[in-house]
């Protein structure tokens, strides 16, 4: 692809992330505003931080869900953290899945929690793949 085509592809991928509800456009723009010559990859760095920190939270959720009796209060604490991180990077679908999980938590519904946890993991991985592709395309477009 030539430079123009790459730029179009970047815009298309970006628009899709917003239109399909994966990312909050305002939050992404806020983070992009923080990029400059001294911090050219800030968005990608923050996303990377999100994924490494969230891996730990997901592990904690797995462990807490597998304990009997289920400690719903602990689960709610972990989800509060996770939701906070999602908000920071504008990860809308993951955040919504976390909200759904918390509702089941508040109702003491372990099965509901397990089901919504599967959704959280699904949305989390989908977003990761989409963002990896997006950042790769942005780099290619810059280099062209």
């Amino acid at each position: 692809m030539n430079s123009n085509q790459l730029q179009h592809q970047v815009l298309y991928m970006r628009r899709s992330l917003f239109d399909q509800g994966y990312l909050d456009s305002e939050q992404l723009i806020q983070l992009e505003d923080l990029q400059d010559d001294a911090n050219p990859n800030f968005v990608e760095e923050v996303v990377s931080l999100f994924y490494s920190d969230s891996a730990r939270l997901i592990q904690n959720i797995e462990q807490t869900l597998s304990n009997r009796p289920v400690d719903f209060s602990r689960l709610d604490d972990i989800l509060h953290q996770f939701k906070g991180s999602c908000s920071s990077i504008g990860a809308k679908k993951v955040k919504d899945a976390c909200s759904q999980f918390r509702e089941y938590c508040n109702a003491g519904n372990a099965e509901g929690c397990s089901r919504s946890f599967q959704l959280i993991k699904q949305e989390y991985e989908t977003l990761r793949r989409r963002l990896e592709s997006y950042f790769q395309m942005v780099k290619q477009a810059k280099a062209a």
Binding site: Q27, L31, D33, S88
Partner: protein, 141 residues
């Protein structure tokens, strides 16, 4: 916030040639800390981070002072409400802004009553920080 707005802000904040504004970011979430640190840095505000309320109190006990403290509510070891009360009891008069994802009015009220000067819901934005900073300049103005 675009470059011209940042420049206007810088001029306004330093119109009496005061030293740079300093800030402390208090949050247990490392993603949030990284973003708030960068937001402040981008506005020309020197800042440090603390991972919970106890660390925030300890850093003040060691004699450090900050013009602005961005205080999260929910943190392990010592939460934002307790940390704010302790800092005020220590005589710390910095501008303390509570930054939280909690939206219930009574939770916000409890946090304010601990001694906050301002409160904002997450996510924090450059515009929200600017509105907090205007409070600092008004207090000392």
């Amino acid at each position: 916030m675009k470059a011209p707005e940042k420049e206007i802000l810088g001029t306004k904040m330093n119109h009496r040639h005061r030293p740079k504004i300093t800030a402390l970011v208090v949050d247990d979430n490392m993603v949030v800390r990284a973003i708030h640190h960068r937001l402040l840095q981008d506005l020309g505000i020197e800042n440090q981070v603390a991972v919970n309320g106890k660390e925030a109190v300890d850093v003040h006990s060691s004699g450090q002072y900050f013009d602005l403290i961005l205080m999260d509510m929910d943190m392990p070891v010592m939460n934002g409400i307790e940390a704010t009360r302790k800092l005020r009891a220590m005589g710390i008069r910095s501008t303390i802004a509570g930054i939280s994802s909690r939206s219930l009015e009574r939770e916000k009220q409890e946090f304010m009553e601990a001694g906050l000067d301002d409160y904002h819901e997450k996510p924090l934005t450059a515009d929200k920080i600017v509105s907090i900073l205007h409070k600092i300049s008004n207090h000392s103005g």
